[in-house]
Amino acid sequence: MSEPLLIVEDLSVRFQTGERAVQAVDGVSYSVGAGERLGIVGVPGSGKSVLALTTLGLTDDPRVEIQGRIMFDGRDLIQLSGAQLRRVRGDEIAILFAPPRSSAHPSYTVGSQLIEAVLAHRSVSARAARDRAIDMLELVGIPEPHRRVDRYPHELADGMLQRALVAMALINEPKLLLADEPTAGLDITVRAQIIALLDQLQGRLGLAMIIFTRELGTAAALAAELALLDAGRIVERRRTDKLGDRAAPRARTIERPSPRPASSPPLVEVGNLVKHFRVARATVTAVDDVSFEVERGETFGIVGERGCGKSTVARLIAGLLNPTSGQVLFEGQEISAYRGEALKAAHREVQIVLADPYSSLNPRRRVGSMIADPFAIHGLYPDESERKRRVEELMSHVGVDPEHYDRRPHELSGGERSRIAVARAVALEPKLLIADEPASTLGDRTRLEVLNLLGELQRELGLTLILIAHDLAAVGHMCDRVAVMYLGKLVELGAGEALYDFPRHPYTGALGDRLLLSGDAPSPANRPRGCVLHPRCPKAEDRCSEQEPELEDKGGGTRAACHFPL
């Protein structure tokens, strides 16, 4: 074995902020050889970004104390002068950041930013630099690179922009690439593409690569050697023999709800639902001819990435929006026909919990008062102390200390805020509860807790639960049936677990990481003709661009809309 390319020896990094000192990294050592890969995994705050930045001397804080050595190619990077370090950056060692939007300057073209990276280290003509830029854009799989090179960052979709940034990082053929959360903020199907891209390029160009990420799955997909980081220290090192095998999904601790009762008329019927929005003089189709039914007592999931229309469907069912056409029936009655008192009464039966527990609670109001809202609005428990007692009961029921009654949302943790939102929604014991990406911005463990809570409440109150999510893996086990949406269309509908393990529609397969789509999702204002997935689908043929597939029974209780199902 040759001498490793990068050796980090007993590295410690300490920040002096105000009066406090923060030990971000504490005695960390690792190494990576030429052409090898290493994954460093840790939750936010564990110090992994600091590791990446310190390697190239990019910690902006002048009051930082660094101890230890970072040996690269025989030199200690920590001892290098500013000018020497600058020569290493972007030439021998490159960093890739995410999210892509904040890494590229919005006012300069993509090409100019790439060319700049070349000219900083090579004395070539501008023309030659530009050619190099175009070649790199092609290498990372960007179609029509000679046109895209003159585009501004905001004209590229997230995935394409991240590819361009990969091109920028690798443009001078560095020996080592540090990828700091390279898939953060990207849609699931795009994330898979970037991982595949990094995998491919690393092999092709033979560079060494260190991935810094919070997702064990991403790290494991790219590196056989893993180091787990916690509070600035390496707590575990792992080695897997097989690459490309994603670590097993999170433990299935979500309890399955008890089987639903015998058939009775469906609680919710959605028929040929269509919703258009006018956005800046263009018409955006958010929901395109979607039909399904939700049975009483069922846990029904709607899954898809950003822009698929699932939140719009949720709001349509909750009566917050009116459909452009089609019907939404709740207990046989058309929701949008309700007015006045009848509408108010209907709100008692259908409740919605919204995503992002911070912005779904008014930051200026007190938590107890917000939970009391449903009672106040519908005139229940007119006696003040009775009402407060009832609210406190609800709070303990969802697992929040009733002592917090008078607190404001920002004084509570993300998990507690989610629970408050749930408490508010179930206060009136509705028949239907719609949970729109509950706790999606929170950590894995918290999210599981909230989902468990929803499951418990469902059992206790016998309510029907519609769960909106973007992660099929997390939600699949919990739902009786799942509907998968893409660009406003319902592409597959079937039993929860079955969809994850045996997808029929290519998009479902991509969500479950069994298939790779190409490119980014188009904007809902520019939906493709024929099958909406065809520009990105590896199985697409001519028929797919001409004829829209219908949702048909594909066996096993699953319906899919695809001409060439899996």
Binding site: G90, I95, R101, S102, P106, E116, A117, H121, E155
Partner: protein, 322 residues
């Protein structure tokens, strides 16, 4: 992008129309005084009053008066006539423009040349002595009335009355064409005074903008590419910040015009500001009204130009956020 331009121009046109409405309400509807007497000035004879009343059309309905007024301004650029001097308000203003431009232009050069680099310097040494001193001075100067600073300057340095007579005092302004040397020296004190107060604002503006972008992710990416610090600063910090400062100058324009009026009054520089002041003193109402209308339209026009010159590719998040 063309749609955006048209939209912006229409907004400006709407603003101009509304300025007409606003000034009409302010100067014709609101005052309780007799409209003719207001405009005739002090000591006008009944015959003159009657004549002016007829000219104003006070016997017409409010709506007719309004349409006449709007037509006058927008179709004929007629801002009224000064009954004192008999000349059109527009011609009076135009005659006084060079002086105002001399004052404002020179001061602008001064505060940009001094204020902007100082803002950059202070940001680079954020928190240290020079930053705190500069910020403190900027705050103090920003709270100082321009007219007071002007008088103090005259009291100290004016050649005729000052303690340390080194520069020409008030009322020494001559146009550039008459005597360039005297023109220049007479403007030094006014320039310094005006530039100090405005410069304080610009300094804070630049500093705020710079602090806003220093932490941006793209700065870090630029450094990570191995660009020299100088390139990072000039290309990624200064240029965008400069663009934003210029864009925001539009909203500072109103304050600048007010400061110009006051400075001209203190130093007796015969510009548009002094014209307005004298008109108020002499109850020459049409001149006051005309100046208000023209000033407002000027601000709208400048803001339009700044917005359009600054037009970025559509959908640019910075443009949207602005």
């Amino acid at each position: 992008m063309a749609v955006h331009v048209i939209h912006r121009v229409l907004r400006a046109v709407l603003a101009l129309v509304l300025i007409g409405v606003l000034t009409f309400v302010l100067f014709t509807v609101l005052p309780d005084a007799d409209p003719a007497r207001l405009r005739a000035g002090l000591g006008a004879s009944p015959a003159v009053l009657a004549h002016i009343s007829a000219q104003l059309g006070v016997h017409h309905s409010l709506w007719v008066q309004f349409t006449d007024y709007m037509k006058g301004i927008f179709l004929h650029l007629n801002l009224g006539y000064s009954y004192r001097s008999g000349r059109s308000v527009l011609s009076l203003i135009v005659a006084r423009l060079p002086a105002t431009l001399s004052l404002a232009g020179g001061a602008a050069v001064l505060w940009l040349v001094l204020g902007l680099p100082l803002g950059v310097l202070a940001t680079r040494r954020r928190g240290r002595l020079i930053d705190r001193a500069a910020l403190g001075t900027a705050f103090a100067l920003g709270s100082t009335p321009v007219f007071w600073l002007g008088l103090i300057a005259l009291y100290l340095f004016a050649s005729d009355i000052g303690r340390f007579p080194i520069l020409p005092g008030a009322n020494s302004y001559v146009p550039l064409t008459v005597d360039p040397g005297k023109w220049f020296s007479s403007l030094i004190l006014p320039w310094l005074v005006l530039a100090s107060c405005q410069g304080a604002l610009y300094f804070r503006l630049v500093r705020d903008e710079l602090l806003g972008v220093s932490d941006a992710g793209y700065i870090r990416t630029a450094r990570a590419k191995g660009l020299t610090e100088r390139r990072v600063i000039s290309h990624y910090l200064l240029r965008p910040v400069l663009a934003r400062v210029i864009a925001r100058s539009g909203s500072l324009l109103g304050g600048l015009l007010g400061a110009v009026v006051v400075t001209e009054t203190v130093f007796k520089i015969h510009g548009v500001g002094l014209l307005a002041y004298e008109a108020v003193r002499q109850s020459d109402f049409p001149v006051v009204q005309g100046t208000v209308v023209l000033a407002a339209m000027f601000v709208v026009a400048v803001n339009l130009v700044l917005d359009l010159a600054h037009v970025r590719p559509m959908g640019d998040p910075e443009a949207i956020a602005a």
